[in-house]
Symmetry: C2
Subunit: 234 residues, 2 copies
Amino acid sequence: MPQTLKTLGPKAAADLDGDLMSDAGGFSIDQLMELAGLSVSQAVYNVHPPSAGNNGGDGLVAARHLYFYGYTPVVYYPKPTKKPIYDGLVKQLNNLHIRFDNETPFDKLAGESDLIVDALFGFSFQPPVREPFDQAIAVMEKGVKPVLAVDTPSSWHVEDGPQNEGLGSKYMPDYLISLTAAKPNVGHFKGKKHFIGGRFLGEDVAKKYNLNIPEYKGLDQIVEVPVDVKVEKL
Amino acid sequence: MPQTLKTLGPKAAADLDGDLMSDAGGFSIDQLMELAGLSVSQAVYNVHPPSAGNNGGDGLVAARHLYFYGYTPVVYYPKPTKKPIYDGLVKQLNNLHIRFDNETPFDKLAGESDLIVDALFGFSFQPPVREPFDQAIAVMEKGVKPVLAVDTPSSWHVEDGPQNEGLGSKYMPDYLISLTAAKPNVGHFKGKKHFIGGRFLGEDVAKKYNLNIPEYKGLDQIVEVPVDVKVEKL
């Protein structure tokens, strides 16, 4: 691994996604989500070998892969995104009879689970946390069950990390997976394990964004990086 | 693994793909190709730990993953499919500076490679083999280098296997990866290893097509099945 963990701010991260999905980059949103969700599922498998989940598109893909790894994921998805790709992901899960549950109080759901995958909000989140997500943030903040946060812990500011006060200000997930590149708030992450996923980023793109490509091993779609690595904001 | 390897004929295989991509199945072609190519790349890694490749869409995805595993794939793609998803896959490879070579004689290309991934034709192939593919089939038939065939060895009939006479009649790849489900011609496969990829097929679909779902291990997207397994044509 590089000595220094370079992070991408919101503009650069959005630009990079735009490059990948541009006419020149050639990736479709379907492909990128499939790859991201696969990385998330591998991170879950790493921190919690088979026996719960929540989120956005990456999380829905991860839930599918996790099902096939032998997990029994439960999906909390109270505000479905209205786009064909999301509809498709939901159908894929329905066809596997994977349980969606937006009715059971989140603390009860969490109590029945072994691990929570937090893919509620990404790095472009703007406060405040609205209902019904406040309930979920409060439960994750309590730390009742270990949480793997996807890309950015939900409710965190992309640069400044946890909110200064109130709901979410003490939210610290146990595990984090950064997708494509770490975001600047990773400097606030004091959990147990940090992974990076994005084994499709070429040297040209890495150079353009001044990123280091981590050294993935074997067939892995994720790589673990030290939690105490020095962070460089780009 | 199941005692008997059930295989899907061309109609059922096409119907299954149609189901997966139907409004009810929810998968996009982008997702299925991503998953298929990932399986292919894992099969390559299995039979030939890092140090070459050829094909269609699944093969293009596999070439990308293989690059990231540390391989130096060379892509033979003389008749590009004119569809946006294929254009995107090619751009992804171009951005990684992966070599496309349709000019070098195929026997020379093969001579410089350690393994050939055959993803030229699928199970819907209809003879005869046209130029310039005849050259490639002839080289693979000679067995100069080991070949991993994707889903159906190119030029084989979906039921009857190798052509009765002439070009391709003696073509027997060393390795085969069946995608989603084995095709009936697998009964003619006498190579060293047979893999199945398709860890996204649910029990409902498997039941509808009367398939057994193989027992994948850990994070694997492929499973190896005995070459001498009894074959049941569905």
